[in-house]
Each structure stands twice: as structure tokens, then as C-alpha cells.
Amino acid sequence: MHNFIYPNENELQWSILIVLYPFLTGLVAGAFILASLERVFRVEAVKPTYRLALLTALSFLLVAPLPLQLHLGHPERSLEMYLTPHRSSAMAMFGFVYLWYLMVVLVLEIWLDYRRDIVIFARTSKGFLRIVYKLMTLGSDNISEGSLRVDDRVGYIITIIGIPSAFFLHGYVGFIFGSVKANPWWSSPLMPVVFIFSAMVSGIAAVMLLYMGLAKLRKEPIGIDCVDAIAKYLFYIFIIDFSLEMLDLIHRIYEADESFRSLDFMVHNSLWIPHVIIQLLIGTLTPIAILGVTQIVPLAVNIRKRLYAIAGCLTMVGIFAMRWNVVIGGQLFSKSLLGYTTYNLHLGSREGLGTAIVLTILPLGILFVLAKLLPPWTSEAHHDTA
């Protein structure tokens, strides 16, 4: 295989920050879908994670545009995407999908679910917190039974709207890549579907890990029924996700179009470790096998918990690797299909590893603040009024 790339391809266009963007958005969509399991499908076992999942989704969604913003050559012009959007652009329309999801679905649902608590907190807390809670009530302090019934009803409707919205949010991210016909590694109608299912996998695994981790930190027992149920859903959805990725792979191999030789060479060389070893072997097949074992073999509670934690961590590694392999992998070969390039990850630059680490930790910081303000575990407001 000879090595020719077009002269303008020396520079990789999309960096680790663009890897982070679908990763974070996927966590949002997945966490919301887990929350909707309880609300819409009445899966009582996952109820302890309902509010945590919503707050997790919000924390990650607030950070999701930051990598994009930092990546832009002219971030000061980014508002133009809203003011003068180009309607044929998938990227421009994503701005509206994002806003819809943030403001209409997530913020509204969280507010409705917490409104009763917020009003009680506003009445019982003191000083600065009181002002914050007062503002959060938005002037609506009626928590009569009738009023709460309306909240519940509206919240239910929003969740129903929210499920397709969550699918749309991440499916759309997949479409941004899948619709680039110039890039055979991306161009696939399966891309949005793969993104949706991988989002569900990552979001569910993230909430499961957060739930278990926070329970440990708070020295509270982990609800085994809850994690059992989450692990079961994670297992099933992971299998669908894996099957879709394999379908895409088999299709590419069997069809073997003009790009196949080039992509095949890349997978066997520069993408061998991130794609085959990390994504497929460590991050997909291993957690599926672990989760499969927990479904089939009756294991002690403590072992199950540990296996879920291991499977969850590996899943996160696998999904991040998947985003990496899509975004970075899609730029490692030349559009001439005759050569390859490499990605040099810097540590301290604006689009470097340091920034990516900060942006990954930042949502957890936001979640910490949100969880302090709006406790997702037991309703502390209930205790205060009791």
C-alpha cells in the first residue's frame, strides 16, 4: 500500500474534542432513556436512579457544546448558527435539536419533578440558598395535591415526548457523520442507529456506575434489584448495539467497494489497537460476556455488584473508543484512498488531552452541585416537612 495523501490532508481537522462531543451527548440520551424506563414503562426496580439519571443527563448536556465551541476557529461567531442557520446543514439544525432537548425536555421535566421539593426548600432554607430556591420556583409555589397531579401528568407527557427526542438527539449526531458521502468510513445509513444504541449503552452504564459509586460514598446500601434490572437492560441493548456494528462491518466486508482495501488496511494497522483490541475486545465483547454470565449463572450479590462495576467501566471505555474510532479513525486515511496519516494528540493545547480531561470531569462537578441543590436520592424535602 503506497502512501499518498492529498496535500491539504496533512492536518487532521477534528480533534479529541470532537470525539468528546458525541461521547457526552450519548451519555445524555442514554441517561434520559433509563429515566424514562421508570416514568413511562413503569419499571419500578430502576426508580432509585430516576432523578440521578435526569440530573446526569442535564450535567452532561450543559457541557456537550463546550468541546464544539472550543474547537471552532471563530467561536465568537457561533451564535450565527441560531441567527442565520443554513437549513441544508446537518450541523446547523443540530443547534435547534440541542436547544429543544435541553429546554423543552430536560429542564422542564426536572423542574416539574422537583417543583414540590424546590418550593419546600424555598420555605425551609435560609440565606443565599433561599434566594436560589425562590428563583427556581419561577414564582409557582402552589403545591396542593391538585397542582402536583398536574405536574405529574405534564411530566409524563414530556417524558413521552422526550424519548423520541433523546433518540433524535443522538441519532442526529450520528447523521452528522453518516451523511458525509466523501468519507467512506462515516458514510452509512446505519450510523444514526448505531449512535442511538451506543448512546443508550453508555448512558445506562454511566448512571449504573454513578448510582453504585454514590451509594458507596454515602455509605448507603446499593439496591441490588435496581442494579440487576439496569444490568439486564444494559446487556440486551448492548447486544443490539453490537449486532448493528457487526452488521455494518459484515456489509462493508462483503460489499468490498472501492474504499474497502484502504479501510481494511487501516483497521489492521493504525486502528488495530483502538478498534479491535480496545473497542471490540475489551470494551464490547468482555462486558457483554460478563453481563451474560450474570444473567445466566446465579451469583452472590457481592460478586454481581463487582461484575456490574467492571462491566460498566469496560463499557465506558468501549463506547469512548467507538467515538474515537469513528471521529479520529475517519480521518486517518486519505480521501485519495491511497495513503494514511496520523493523529498527534497534544497535552496542553486548546484542543489537547488536558482540555478533554477537564471537559470530561466538568459534568461530574456540575452533577455534584446539582445533587447538592436538588438531592436525587430520597426526597429530603419530605423529611424536612415531616
Binding site: 499518498f4 492529498y6 496535500p7 481537522q13 446543514s89 450541523m91 458521502k181
Partner: protein, 247 residues
């Protein structure tokens, strides 16, 4: 209307007008935009790989070092390497080509070597224009794809969407750049810098709306192709004598 209101109003109007103008291409007073539909004709057999076009383009358009609005590729093909030709383009062919590619030349049966000048294809259905989130990349009424540098976000989606590798991000301006078909020249009745510098006439600016343009006669008599026709972009860089191995 008092003085304060008037000053505020004119200030706002000036800002708004500047915004409107930002989206308009450069124009020339006597240039009738609707009378033209620009394209480029490239005769591969005539290209000698001298690099004059690349240098002229860089000088005319102040192209940053290491990036190219036009470049030349050298292809070497023999019977064993029909699918995997050896291609090189040292510094975009700006200073011509050494006798042999860096990795050595092919030596198989039916060896052939030729040069292929590349530039933006000014596609009718250009993917770069389609994906630009703010419409900073646009097609002029006379068929030239341009970038409004005052409006481009530098998101790089257009660079990803171009199948031909014609776009790059200007390292200082942080906006997308590409061949403008020397729009500032052709709207004044001149040809492009690359065409003017080509010693063999391998490149010719063509106006598809001008019935007297020699391109019509040339296309009747020659087999003319575009790059990557499967992309269906409506490319308007037409190549005569193009080998099937060219990507």
C-alpha cells in the same frame, strides 16, 4: 425625529448594511453575472508538471505555506499497479517534480507517467456548500463556490465534506479557504492566475454560458470526464484524457 434618534438609526443601518454586503461576492461594474457559468477544462496530456500554476496561484492569492488552492499530482501506473498507482505531489508540485518519486519508480509492463492538476471542482451540487452551518460557503449565480471569510465559523465541516481534498483552514485567519477560480480576476475579464501561468495551455478557464467559448467544441471532439463521478457532485473541473487510475 430628533438628532439622537437619527444618529442611532444611521449607526444601526450601517451595521445592517455591512452585514448584507458581507454575503455578496466581489463584483465589477460591467460584469453581467447572469451571462456566465464558470468551469475549468484540464487537458492531462498537456500538463508537464512544471508547477507554474501552483506558484502563480500562491502568489496571486497569498496562499499560506504548506496549503494549496491548486496542486499537481504525478501518477505512475503499470500493469501490476492499475488499482494502486504510485502518486506523489512534493510540496503540491510547486517546484516541479524530481526524476523519480521518493519511494522509487514503477518498472512494470506498460509503464506510464502523467501529471494531473487539481483544484476546487466548483461543483453544482457541492457537498461543502450543503454542510456549511451558516451558509458562509455559497455558490455565486455564475457558478463559482466561494467562502465568506467574515462569516465562516471555522468548524471544518466543509473540509470533511469535500471529496477532493480541496479545502483547508487558513492557519492565521482560522477560516476555510479554497480555490476561488480567481473570482476577483474573472469578473474583470481576465483569466485565472493558474491558466495564465500555464505554459502548455493544459488549463483553460471555460464559460459554459458563452456559446462562443472553445470548450463547447472541445467537449464535442474529446472524451471529457470529472473526478470521482460516483460522488455526483456536479463537478465543473472537466478533465480530458484522464486515466482511470486517477483518484
Amino acid at each position: 425625529m430628533n438628532r439622537r434618534f437619527f444618529i442611532t438609526l444611521t449607526g444601526a443601518a450601517a451595521i445592517a448594511w455591512e452585514h448584507v454586503l458581507a454575503g455578496a461576492p466581489e463584483s465589477s461594474p460591467n460584469y453581467k453575472i447572469a451571462d456566465h457559468w464558470w468551469a475549468m477544462l484540464i487537458d492531462v496530456d498537456k500538463c508537464i508538471g512544471c508547477g507554474n500554476c501552483v506558484r502563480a496561484c500562491a502568489a496571486e492569492n497569498n496562499v499560506p505555506e504548506g496549503f494549496f488552492r491548486t496542486w499537481i499530482e504525478r501518477y505512475q501506473v503499470d500493469d501490476e499497479h492499475m488499482m494502486e498507482p504510485i502518486v506523489d505531489s512534493p510540496d503540491g508540485g510547486k517546484h516541479g517534480f524530481p526524476a523519480h518519486p521518493a519511494g522509487g519508480s514503477l518498472t512494470g509492463a506498460n509503464f506510464k507517467e502523467f501529471f494531473v492538476p487539481k483544484l476546487c471542482n466548483h461543483c453544482v451540487d457541492s457537498p461543502c456548500t450543503q454542510v456549511c452551518p451558516v451558509g458562509a460557503t455559497f455558490t455565486t449565480p455564475d457558478g463559482v463556490v466561494l467562502v465568506d471569510e467574515k462569516y465562516c465559523l471555522g468548524c471544518r465541516y466543509c473540509v470533511q465534506a469535500c471529496p477532493y481534498g480541496c479545502r483547508f483552514i487558513h492557519p492565521e485567519k482560522n477560516v476555510a479557504q479554497k480555490c476561488t477560480l480567481c473570482y476577483h480576476r474573472i469578473t474583470k475579464g481576465l483569466t485565472t492566475a493558474c491558466c495564465e501561468a500555464c505554459p502548455t495551455g493544459s488549463r483553460q478557464l471555460a464559460d459554459l454560458r458563452n456559446p462562443k467559448d472553445p470548450i463547447h467544441d472541445f467537449m464535442k471532439k474529446h472524451s471529457v470526464q470529472v473526478l470521482k463521478p460516483q460522488m455526483a457532485t456536479g463537478a465543473k473541473a472537466f478533465y480530458a484524457n484522464l486515466d482511470g487510475s486517477v483518484r
